[in-house]
């Protein structure tokens, strides 16, 4: 049984990523929770270590060195609770994204109803659908059994039937699942989640439960044709994923023990925070969080009416990187490059990097390729995630990214705080936000850790977020307009707190910057030209309060959708120019 952390003071939070493991300490400083320090070490899920707890111990040891405080005992075990001599911590929470992509079989009735909801459910974690069985599947049951056996699933998700609706069809579909699970070797029997018609749960338990002992049941993801409710099933799935990881990856069991069961998949913990932030902070616009790491690209978005969480292992920058070419072309990746790099060199890079996911770019050319790949991976993830955004999300044009404020970004590819301009340009290129938004970098990748801690101590995340633990890059203004390159599209005046003013004339195709330091606010008067729209309506301007950040106020006049010049030389020159504007090289 998990213990409560409410009375705890210091909380150690550990994120076990595919490439790196981070240990972060939150403690009470002057009566409020603060992010105090972090330590990092390479993850050790893979050979030769094959035990994630080793990387966790190394990350905690690195944190110890920063803190000047002992957290591990002589046997390298975590000291809990805090001892009278000041060593140790009061509690531990863990998030994990390390581990092979989970192979999932999806079972449902109709393609556009339960199978679609099931797809969204599976996509909320580090899984890939390797086989789908639905009502329109014309294979015989024995062929379906063979297909399941060939798929070697770690997980089977069954979604089907509205509550009180179809029962015979779904039971019929379950026969091959039960039989396939029964004839698998015990150690390979997949975990099974039933998230369908609640009225037949007992029948399902009788039908599948006796054959597949790993059966879990959650509330229906599709209680009626018009309603989708993924959250309870996502919560159950998160628990199941941790159990699958315990089976697959040594050391997860120990972390579960150390943390008293406070262990969650990283994406789920991130989603929990985004859902919370959307409830607390969001006005009409949505809140967007993106996380681009070695294990996956994760897009979570909170809207007034809906929350979405999409995890794309296929767009992760680690072992699956070579597979990115199944979804895009070398040419499309290279369009983001400021250097003239051949397709062959890029292809070799993708395959080489997938051999060694934890390696980093040590040369400029390598960094350019890494960032071009990151842009395309995040672009593809965002395009995929947009399918699940609600229809009533506020937008300037339905074909463009909806209005978000703020946009948060983290993960290995984005959290490099030494060059916030690089990270911002990457986000502008790949997410293509519109209107006015603030952009915040989670350079210490705190968001999932706060999400993991939130269930135990709901004060901690709020106080840590308010304390400025995230890096505000600034406010971004992106007009939507159709114009020729070089045409003036927007004029703006920034009035600082001390009364001084700065002006910008934004031309189509350019990026401009007005400095505004972190913590400062200013009045931004916007005048839209040529029918440009920043969210006030076509051609309409307005006065808004903007907050500063590492870069200040950034105006992106490059158009939406962003169409890069076809001429490669001109395109590379422009990319260099944009990078210069935002403080890059």
């Amino acid at each position: 049984m998990a213990s409560s952390l409410v009375d705890g003071n210091s909380i150690l939070a550990v994120d076990v990523g595919a490439a790196n493991t981070r240990a972060v300490i939150f403690d009470v400083v002057e009566g409020e929770y603060r992010f105090v320090a972090s330590g990092t070490a390479p993850s050790t899920a893979e050979a030769p270590f094959k035990d994630v707890s080793e990387g966790v111990r190394n990350a905690i040891a690195s944190l110890q060195a920063v803190l000047g405080k002992t957290l591990l005992d002589g046997s390298r075990n975590l000291i809990t609770p805090t001892q009278p001599n000041g060593s140790g911590v009061d509690a531990l929470v863990v998030t994990i994204s390390a581990g092979p992509t989970i192979r999932a079989v999806l079972v449902g009735l109709l393609k556009d109803v339960s199978l679609e909801s099931g797809r969204r459910l599976v996509e909320s974690t580090y899984a890939r659908i390797v086989e789908t069985i639905g009502l329109n599947d014309h294979r015989k049951p024995d062929q379906q059994i063979d297909a399941i056996l060939r798929a070697k699933p770690d997980l089977i998700v069954i979604a089907g039937g509205t509550d009180g609706g179809a029962s015979r069809s779904i039971k019929k579909l379950l026969e091959p699942i039960g039989l396939a699970s029964f004839i698998m070797p015990e150690e390979k029997v997949p975990a099974v989640l039933f998230a369908g018609n609640e009225k037949i749960v007992e029948d399902i338990k009788a039908l599948v439960g006796s054959l597949a002992p790993a059966l879990h049941v959650s509330p229906n993801v599709r209680p009626s044709l018009e309603t989708e409710d993924l959250e309870p099933a996502q919560r159950e799935l998160a628990r199941m994923v941790v159990n699958i990881r315990k089976r697959q990856v040594k050391g997860v069991e120990l972390l579960d023990l150390w943390s008293g069961g406070h262990i969650l998949p990283t994406a789920y913990a991130t989603g929990r925070m985004v859902r919370f932030l959307a409830k607390v902070y969001s006005a009409d616009k949505g809140i967007l969080n993106v996380d681009l790491g070695a294990s996956a690209a994760v897009i979570s978005a909170g809207f007034k009416s809906k929350f979405t969480l999409n995890v794309y292992p296929q767009f992760g920058l680690g072992e699956n990187l070579a597979g990115l070419l199944n979804y895009t072309t070398l040419e499309d990746i290279l369009r983001w490059s400021p250097l003239d790099i051949s397709e062959g060199v890029l292809r070799d890079y993708l395959y080489q990097k997938s051999l060694y996911p934890s390696t980093i770019a040590a040369t400029k050319e390598d960094l350019v390729m890494a960032q071009s790949v990151s842009r395309q991976a995040l672009y593809l993830a965002m395009q995929s995630a947009r399918r699940d955004f609600p229809r009533d999300a506020i937008n300037i044009k339905p074909t463009l990214t909806p209005l978000f404020d703020p946009i948060l970004a983290g993960g290995g590819a984005l959290s490099d705080a030494s060059r916030p301009g690089h990270s911002l340009l990457l986000l502008l290129d790949s997410l293509q936000p519109v209107g006015v938004t603030t952009v915040i970098l989670d350079q210490n990748n705190l968001l999932p850790l706060l999400g993991a801690a939130a269930a135990q101590n709901n004060l901690l995340p709020v106080q840590v977020i308010e304390s400025g633990a995230f890096l505000s890059v600034g406010t971004v203004v992106v007009p939507v307009v159709s114009a020729n390159y070089g045409t003036p599209i927007l004029r703006a005046t920034l009035t600082y707190e001390n009364g001084t003013e700065a002006r910008v004339d934004l031309k189509y195709g350019s990026l401009e910057l007005l400095p505004l330091s972190s913590g400062e606010t200013g009045k931004l008067t916007i005048q839209c030209l040529r029918g440009a729209d920043v969210g006030f309506g076509p051609g309409r301007g307005g006065v808004i309060t903007v907050t500063g950040g590492a870069l200040g106020v950034v105006f992106d006049g490059r158009g939406r959708p962003l169409n890069l010049p076809v001429d490669a030389v001109r395109r590379r020159e422009l990319i260099k120019k944009w990078s210069w504007t935002l403080g890059g090289e």
Partner: protein, 351 residues
């Protein structure tokens, strides 16, 4: 910081697990000496299943069908063997459509495994059986030279080594392969075109040891029936000097090319093993080292991708790299005399 070790070593103890994909019969005993082609375990693998809905065919309830079914789990049935006979004046019957084994009986249905084929597991390397893994296989121990690679096409075979790569940056072309190389394991440098892989298949060879493989050739390399192992990576990469030196000085020796696919979680790696006669078993190599001056390392990313060097100093704290990123790093003196600064995560110890 701890470092993974990439094994390229002239003499070491090698213990390898050889397992059937499913449960089967182990044919060797403890301490038995085995050759690479010896079958050490076998299993019957059924690739298909047939589900017979007896209740529906006979037009009876599931419970009644269960009473009429004559076979039980694990029964082996011949094709056309009667599984159940209905009742009445002209009773209908249900027969096995193919030869197979009964795996499930119940609910008025019978599930059979059909299309069984025998799977044989070979020893792969010459050595001694060090441990029996019941129903699955054995651990085989040997001593010899070991060269690990980064990619393999999943095949395994053995043969005498021949060197067609006169230098580490050699390129294998189809024209360099002739009938005199049939049955050999070939040290081949890098491969840039499909013709070379096809020519090797036509001979056929017993294995190709490549320094680099063009990614576009990966699908074809996977199809080849002979083992292909890549020592350094993808693209125009020369063979690292440690591997080249060891392999090129071992020509005419028997080598096993186990081109097992690299599995980052289990640690399985493609490798070349060259057994050597020994008087006493050598030490087992370390899997992990700690970065320190004097260690021999291999560069896993540019600059100097694939080159071998020696750590001169491990830098304190974080170092700003040429890319602008900051990371723990080391000064590495490369074989060509040049000294570079590389992040520790881009290095692996060679030994």
């Amino acid at each position: 910081m701890q470092a993974p070790v990439h094994h390229i070593t002239g003499l070491t103890s090698i213990v390898r697990e050889r397992l059937l994909p499913i449960s089967g019969k182990v044919l060797v005993r403890l301490n038995q000496k085995v050759s690479p082609n010896d079958v050490i375990a076998e299993a019957n693998l059924a690739r298909e299943h047939v589900l017979l809905d007896v209740a529906r065919i006979l037009g009876v309830t599931s419970n009644m069908a269960d009473r009429l079914i004559k076979c039980k789990v694990d029964d082996r049935l011949a094709a056309s063997a009667v599984i159940a006979v209905g009742k009445g004046l002209f009773p209908r019957s249900v027969a096995a459509p193919r030869e197979g084994r009964v795996v499930v009986v119940g609910g008025g249905q019978v599930l059979m495994e059909v299309g069984e084929t025998k799977t044989e597991l070979r020893a792969g390397i010459a050595g001694t059986v060090a441990e029996i893994i019941p129903n699955r296989g054995a651990m085989i121990q040997t001593a010899g030279a070991l060269v690990q690679g980064v990619w393999g096409n999943g095949r395994i075979d053995s043969g005498l080594l021949v060197n067609l790569a006169e230098k580490p940056e050699g390129v294998l072309t189809a024209g360099r392969l002739d009938v005199s190389m049939r049955g050999f394991v070939i040290i081949a440098g890098m491969v840039k075109d499909a013709d070379a892989l096809k020519a090797a298949a036509d001979l056929p060879v017993r294995g190709l040891i490549l320094s680099g493989l063009y990614p576009s050739l990966i699908p074809m390399a996977r199809e080849m029936r002979y083992p292909i192992i890549v020592t350094d990576g993808f693209g125009p990469l020369q063979m690292n000097s440690a591997a080249y030196k060891l392999l090129s000085t071992s020509v005419k020796l028997e080598a096993t090319v186990n081109a097992e696919a690299y599995d980052r979680y289990s640690g399985a790696r493609p490798e070349v093993i060259i057994p050597r006669p020994i008087s006493a078993p050598p030490a087992t190599p370390h899997e992990v080292e700690t970065f320190a001056p004097g260690l021999q390392v291999r560069m896993r990313r540019p600059p100097a991708l694939g080159m071998i060097g020696t750590i001169v100093a491990v830098k304190p704290g974080l170092t700003t790299l040429l890319s602008g990123l900051r990371a723990p790093a080391a000064e590495v003196k490369l074989e060509n005399g040049e000294t570079v600064v590389a992040p520790l995560v881009n290095l692996e110890v060679v030994g």
